[in-house]
Assembly symmetry: C2
């Protein structure tokens, strides 16, 4: 089904999606984060086919987002843990979950509540600027061409537009 | 290819992914955000087939993330804009892009640079807690069952585990 490899795109969003951007991967990462670290539990939890889950887990291991560890020797059995890169994805997925709570919540209410342990409050993730600390709004951001930008699939038109805008 | 509808899952991450979670949708949202608002520009930019782009745009309109406006009457021509829900996705996609800059950057460097206009600094999005303002780390968050939680595809095992953990 996939015709273009996102890994070759000159766009860090596309390259992130190459690693985690199919329908299932963010849910698999969430499951592992929340302690469902074994194949059978993840398969049952998500209702995903075993074949597809095998492929997705392998892809996430290759992408450096999760790692596989043997927790039993005879017969050998594995479980999964997030890597550092995987852990850094979690707050982003929590922000996306909060977006879903707001814009796509089931009638029955929020399915999972998250608490922020350091302050004990209900977690409402907010995306802020590391430099000034202000909340980042879509309208507050300007895009400029970066050193790795190129006019190819993913940024075919955009790379030129950004370069023009930067010159203007 | 899709066997389970994410829209029915009792999980706000799954429901977000139902709206924006295929390979192309986040890139389409990024394109519209960055000013590529016409069908032909998006198709050319991403190298996506026109059929698939038509489907993706329709799905994003139905999901309330983008809206279609006629910018010309004879012949009628449309362009796309983000809705409020779509604009609220942008900081999350910028955070994912920054993750990709860090963990999946092309050798040539960052493809697009983002500036935070209010402070003029390079944008490094940080996910913080709305209540206490601290940076949110994966290890600082606890999950509890919510009112809309249910043991069904997406949270089949998780709903029970969360309920057990909350009782303990």
């Amino acid at each position: 089904m996939k015709k273009v490899s996102f890994a070759e795109m000159r766009c860090s969003l596309a390259r992130s999606l190459e690693i985690i951007g199919d329908w299932w991967s963010p849910l698999i990462i969430r499951d592992i984060y929340l302690g469902l670290v074994r194949f059978d539990d993840i398969a049952l939890n998500l209702g995903i086919s075993r074949n597809l889950l095998t492929l997705r887990l392998r892809h996430l291991v290759e992408g450096g987002v999760i790692k596989r560890t043997a927790y039993q020797k005879r017969p050998v059995r594995f479980d999964y843990q997030l890597t550092e890169a995987g852990e850094e994805l979690v707050p982003i997925l929590l922000a996306l979950t909060a977006w879903g709570d707001h814009w796509a919540q089931p009638e029955e209410g929020q399915p999972i509540r998250f608490l922020h342990k350091p302050c004990g409050c209900k977690l409402m993730p907010k995306i802020t600027c590391s430099a000034c600390g202000k909340t980042v709004a879509a309208s507050d951001v300007t895009a400029l061409p970066g050193p790795g930008g190129a006019a190819r699939a993913g940024t075919m038109v955009l790379a030129k537009r950004l370069a023009q805008a930067a010159r203007a």
